[in-house]
């Protein structure tokens, strides 16, 4: 069952680009990564889904409800952590969560205490007296305390220390195990690769890929390292279709193979091989390929 569906969703700011023809489906119970560099359109997509921005054209549904006309009903069932989360610095986390609970018609603070303990969030200090990382923990509590079916998280681990990032990723995995859906916008490739089931990559406001993380990494090229008993002529391998970035270090060749490894294995078999290593690229390397390298940072 689709939790989020967008159809040619477009948002322009006057003549400036926002997002163009974004069409995607996020299934129930999956962790969906939304990957792109700053300014690619990740936050615009999220804010359009949440009805903070009105689409120029196209449409979106969440839980099968129209994201514009039925926005309140949608927001009753989701939790959102905005990018660069901020709130009135005079309020404590507890006051903020109490306020949001009241807006949601809740009579208690739901899971707030449990989550605050888990994320080591101090709910009793004013937000203005907390570090960015600690404010982000409050942000995580305020978007999850009501146990929403859908979590929309924009750069959620931003500012968190490595231990808390691990805890956060464990939390996301648990939410998936409980059947909840997570839409996770990030430029942290490692966290997307580790926790997401599928990933969409957005570039210049347009989706350029939506695939499972497994497919993206398995269909892509391989890093190949072969060590031979004796030095070999590298041109023999350079001539193989799909081989690139070949380097020789003594008896060792390293290169990329993106047209299958069978011809590489057959060519290697003509020599005495002492070591062979094939590895998939990381999501970050694939992402850099999509973005042409330096743009992605």
């Amino acid at each position: 069952m689709a939790i989020i569906e967008t159809h040619a969703l477009t948002k322009r700011y006057g003549h400036a680009r926002g997002i163009e023809d974004v069409s995607m489906t996020v299934e129930s119970g999956e962790v969906f990564g939304f990957l792109g560099p700053n300014g690619a359109g990740k936050t615009t997509t999220i804010r359009t889904l949440l009805d903070l921005l009105h689409p120029t054209s196209g449409a979106a549904t969440i839980f099968g409800l129209d994201s514009r006309r039925e926005s309140r009903a949608i927001r009753a069932r989701l939790g959102n952590l905005p990018g660069d989360f901020a709130y009135d610095p005079r309020l404590t986390g507890r006051e903020l969560v109490s306020f949001l609970a009241e807006l949601r018609g809740m009579r208690d603070l739901g899971r707030a205490a449990e989550l605050a303990e888990r994320f080591h969030a101090d709910l009793d200090r004013p937000l203005g007296q907390q570090s960015r990382g600690n404010r982000q923990k409050i942000g995580l509590v305020q978007c999850t305390f009501h146990d929403p079916e859908l979590l929309v998280l924009d750069e959620p681990s931003s500012g968190l220390d490595p231990l808390m990032q691990e805890e956060f990723l464990a939390f996301v995995a648990e939410e998936r195990d409980r059947g909840h859906t997570v839409f996770l916008s990030s430029h942290e490739h490692d966290e997307v690769q580790r926790v997401c089931d599928r990933v969409a990559i957005i570039r210049d406001g347009r989706l350029i890929a939506i695939e499972s993380v497994e497919d993206v990494t398995s269909r892509s090229y391989r890093h190949v390292t072969i060590e031979f008993a004796d030095p070999v002529d590298p041109d023999e391998f350079r001539r193989i279709p799909g081989v690139s970035d070949l380097r020789r270090t003594g008896r060792r060749l390293t290169f990329k193979a993106d047209a299958g490894v069978d011809p590489v294995i057959k060519a290697a078999a003509r020599h005495t091989v002492t070591e062979l290593e094939l590895s998939r690229p990381t999501l970050e390397e694939i992402f850099l390929t999509y973005y042409g390298g330096d743009e992605a940072r």
């Binding site: 936050t43 804010r47 949440l50 009805d51 903070l52 921005l53 009105h54 309140r72 009903a73 927001r75 009753a76 069932r77 989701l78 939790g79 959102n80 905005p82 990018g83 660069d84 989360f85 901020a86 709130y87 009135d88 005079r90 006051e95 903020l96 306020f99 949001l100 009241e102 807006l103 949601r104 018609g105 809740m106 739901g110 899971r111 449990e114 888990r118 305020q142 978007c143 009501h146 146990d147 929403p148 079916e149 929309v152 805890e167 464990a170 648990e174 409980r178």
Partner: protein, 283 residues
């Protein structure tokens, strides 16, 4: 660490549907009142102290004020709605209610609404607020109601301080007359609260919202003032809220003007809510 919390049917039911708008509105109003919990001191205190000073001074100026008034130009007296000053209430009316209190309290009303909407948008708080199932119109309505309560508190503190000090210093003002004078400031201020809500429905930042609302406040005051002095400007006075403000201390509250100004304020706030609903919330 792993903490598993199953969703209970009660919890699922609790979050499945948005709460009634009144529930959200109550939350917005309560939060707004907490945000302004010291306003009785920070605004009511100074205004009340100034007004109380006038009440305390009355016994010492009582015998000379009539002579002094005779030397005032007629136009000036008309402009500031100064008639015979034979009572402490009329003295407070001339000194406080014709200029300082209405302008200050209306500015406070503008500030309360601006901070709740445009200020929250500017500081990016609206993204967090509007992730909850709350309608934008409820935010505007909440800010408008908070403004109404806050200025009522400030006016009440001003009235009480004036009366207490007046009684203590022997000028013995009437609480009922003072109260009707300050109560008359309320609808005027609510009109400008509504104007601020309208501007917040259009602009994304607090500076232009404040500029539009307070600029109109000062502009309307000047139109009314100059209109009383200069005949060519007089026809424009109908467009000034101050034209309908009058002097409740001397003439009593004009129920039509009271209701009219309040209704215009509400209409402006409703228009602001419609505009806010139709536009983007900027990051």
């Amino acid at each position: 660490m792993s903490v598993f919390t199953p969703i209970t049917p009660a919890a699922a039911k609790r979050v499945a549907a948005p709460p009634p708008a009144l529930t959200s509105l109550r939350g917005v109003v309560r939060r707004g009142l907490r945000d302004h919990r010291r306003v009785w001191l920070t605004w009511g205190g100074p205004l009340g102290a100034m007004s109380a000073l006038m009440a305390a001074m009355w016994p010492s100026v009582e015998n000379t004020i009539t002579d002094a008034l005779e030397n005032y130009p007629e136009g000036l007296k008309e402009a500031f709605n100064i008639r015979e000053i034979t009572t402490v209430e009329a003295y407070i009316d001339a000194e406080m209610m014709s200029l300082i209190v209405p302008l200050a309290v209306a500015f406070l009303a503008v500030r309360v609404v601006t901070r709740a909407i445009a200020g929250a948008e500017e500081q990016r708080y609206l993204d967090t607020l509007l992730a909850a199932p709350v309608a934008r119109g409820v935010l505007i309505a909440g800010a408008f109601i908070v403004a109404g309560i806050v200025i009522a508190i400030v006016l009440a503190v001003t009235t009480l301080l004036t009366w207490v000090v007046g009684v203590a210093t022997g000028s013995d003002p009437s609480l009922a007359v003072l109260a009707r004078g300050t109560a008359n400031v309320w609808p005027l201020s609510m009109l400008f609260a509504g104007l601020a809500a309208l501007a917040a429905g259009w602009f994304h930042r607090s500076a232009p919202v404040t500029a539009v609302a307070t600029g109109t406040l000062v502009g309307m005051y000047l139109i009314d003032l100059v209109g009383k002095l200069a005949e060519p400007i007089e026809p424009l006075r109908w467009a000034s809220a101050f034209r309908y403000y009058g002097s409740a201390i001397q003439d009593g509250i004009d129920p039509l003007a009271f209701a009219g100004l309040t209704l215009v304020g509400i209409a402006l706030a409703v228009a602001g809510a419609v505009l806010l609903q139709r536009r983007d919330v900027m990051a």
